[in-house]
């Protein structure tokens, strides 16, 4: 019967050997990767995207929240946006007219995520109440003028940080949680269909902060976590992660699949965005900011999204910057945060409309802002 001290020693030794194996893996990968996306593109003679001042349709501000905006999501078809805020409300906006079509008062004001159902008829949200609440937008308000919850998905043992409906399936939804697991839910019964991580090995070892479902192969999704890794999951096989992606040096706040479903982008507390190849696990590119002239701490990346073709990577930062990266050349071609009428606080979330014609950003300054992309067909 080993003593506690012996066990601790063994544990430390095992950790050290795992770390050294990881380091060897990393070095091996580096020798296999003869170049990254940027160097390759430049070698091919590609030049960065450039913008004319007229390319950006002027910005519209969606005002209405009285607290920080934490999350937003577009409908897949109509141009509606749902946003969640610290004021304890979900607001549904018509992006074309800036009108608010619904304002839903939440039971728990500490909401961290929201999502639109594929048919645009329901919204889901979750937060510090450790549950995911679903509202049917066509339900009647009750006596106090509040919209009733149509279902509450309970079971997580920690806060719900992210949620997304499985595309084309109103009845299935995936949540990511502070309890280190992701869960696939059946919305109609409220039951958990599968749990990814937790007691099963190869799960995340810290809070899950973000997830993204592959739109070209909806059986696959990725989750980003405070354990600095991204994990790829197959909905049909909950028992273990398909692959784990290392590279980031800080909590991963946001993950998003690349439009072709073969790669994905990430944003992290380490101030960088990265592009990974899904199949091989290689880190294809790092998007590093220039260090601040005043040598302040590097702002962290809170949210990422790709343009329709993937040529552009949008990244929101904690200091209000919103970089538009040329994905191929790893150059920042525009900082929306320096334009007129930009956010005055941290960008907490952003997303592109389904046709790629508009970018919506949400911020701790309580507003959402819409910018149209005239050139979206090209990019």
């Amino acid at each position: 019967m080993a003593s506690v001290a012996e066990l601790k020693e063994k544990h430390a030794a095992a950790t050290a050997s795992v770390n050294s194996l990881r380091e060897r893996l990393r070095q091996r990968r580096q020798t296999l990767l003869d170049t990254d996306v940027e160097k390759y593109s430049k070698a091919q003679g590609r030049t960065a995207v450039s913008f004319n001042p007229t390319d950006l349709v002027c910005c519209r501000t969606l005002q209405g929240h009285s607290g920080k905006v934490y999350s937003l999501d577009w409908t897949p078809e109509k141009n509606w946006i749902v946003s969640a805020s610290q004021d304890g409300r979900l607001i549904v906006w018509n992006a074309l007219t800036s009108q608010k079509t619904h304002a839903i008062k939440l039971h728990c004001p500490w909401v961290m995520t929201c999502a639109f159902a594929p048919n645009g008829q329901s919204v889901a949200c979750g937060g510090l109440d450790s549950a995911c609440s679903i509202f049917n937008l066509s339900s009647q308000a009750d006596r106090d003028g509040n919209m009733p919850v149509s279902r509450v998905l309970t079971g997580h043992k920690g806060y719900v940080s992210s949620c997304q409906y499985v595309p084309d399936q109103e009845t299935r939804l995936i949540t990511g949680s502070g309890d280190q697991t992701c869960v696939l839910w059946d919305v109609t019964t409220g039951q958990r269909i599968s749990i990814f991580g937790g007691e099963f090995p190869s799960g995340h070892t810290a809070d899950v902060l973000s997830l993204s479902i592959n739109s070209l192969n909806t059986n696959m999704f990725i989750s980003g976590s405070c354990d600095t890794t991204v994990r790829l999951w197959d909905l049909r096989i909950a028992s273990r992660a398909v692959r784990t992606y290392h590279g980031h040096e800080g909590d991963i706040n946001s993950v998003k699949f690349f439009p072709d479903g073969q790669r994905f982008g990430t944003g992290s507390d380490d101030g960088t965005c990265r592009l990974f190849d899904m199949r091989t696990g290689h880190q294809l590119q790092v998007y590093n900011r220039e260090p601040d002239r005043n040598d302040n701490e590097l702002p962290i990346v809170t949210s990422v999204a790709f343009s329709i073709s993937g040529r552009l990577l949008f990244a929101g930062y904690s200091n209000g910057d919103c970089y538009v990266w040329d994905t191929l050349l790893a150059e920042m071609v525009l900082n929306l945060g320096t334009l007129q009428n930009s956010h005055e606080g941290r960008i907490s979330c952003l997303g592109l409309s389904s046709d790629g014609s508009a970018l919506c950003t949400g911020s701790w300054d309580k507003n959402l802002k819409l910018r149209g992309m005239a050139w979206h067909e090209l990019l």
Partner: protein, 387 residues
Amino acid sequence: MDECEDLKLIIQSNIYRYIGILLEGRERFEEEVLADRRKLCQHDPSSSGRPESGFCDEEVTEYSIVPRLKAFSDWILKAMALGNLEDIFPAASREYAPLVEELWKDPAIQATYRRRNELPFLPSAASYFLDRVVDISRTEYELCDIDILYADGITSSDGLASTDISFPQLALDLRVADELDPQDTLLRYQLIRINNKGLRENSKWLQMFDDVSLVIFCVAVSDYDEYYEDANGTVVNKMIESKQLFESIALHPTFEQMNFLLLLTKFDLLEQKIGKSPLTACDWFAEFTPLVSRNLIDGTSRSKRGSHNGASLAQMAAHYIGVKFKRLFHSLTERKLYVSYVNALDQQSVCSAIRYGREIVKWEEEKPVFGSSETVYSGDEPSSYSH
């Protein structure tokens, strides 16, 4: 009303948990006594001629109970071992309440209870509920405020709870009366309660609270010699656990310039046991060496000679705990920790603690105007000041 029913159920099923802990303890103490006896008999096999010749065969100890009660006890202990105590008892609690009462009043259990400092998992409020087990187990049982205050396991471990508070004009506290202006009554404060369960690992969500005005950290001073079993089955000292949690929050980047108020609670429980259970039971307080006169037997000061400003041992202990936290906070943040003592069962005490919290918030807001001179704002106790 649903909430009320839930609370009743929690309280009723808690009682079975308490009696279960006592029954386990009883069995343990009984076995210890019997084992000691057997050892004695082994050393002296020739027991003939001795007055207590039947001693070695005797299985009765002061911890023994009659077979009927033993059967009931076995049943409860088995349910506890299987982990379904909570499932069985709320439904059957009415029927078994008289049995539980009989057990509770049995001298064997009372003897076990007297050694409750050896039963680390028994909450101090257990006797409050066990005394009234029959009453509480009735269906018509009506919850009163004190019951809720004493009960444990009430607030859910997931999620948060919050309440809005304001300070009405009719403040009876004369010390603050002259500072009240009409604006005050319009200000509403929100008190947010965070359960500590997931705090250390899941600290990312604390970011959502970066704009609070004050962090209030509650520590029960009576925790110094109490333990609990964590998720891995390790036995942890509650005070050390509090200290670690306090450290991680004080160091959390979200609360970098935040004011902290430490509320030390359950002084009355500390007072009851400090005589028997020294503060040094907790490693962190290993250097506690109060100057006490030999007259101090049960912790209360009978003479001023040798004691610190006439303070009792309990007061010195509680003060020492506050000082340890203050030093810890200063070493981590270079800032001052506000400390106050609260009796959570006394509404007045809670009110003045919250008022103190509000004063700290106001001082912080007024700093740009009045400067942060320590001489004006320093002091551990809420005190009046004029400007």
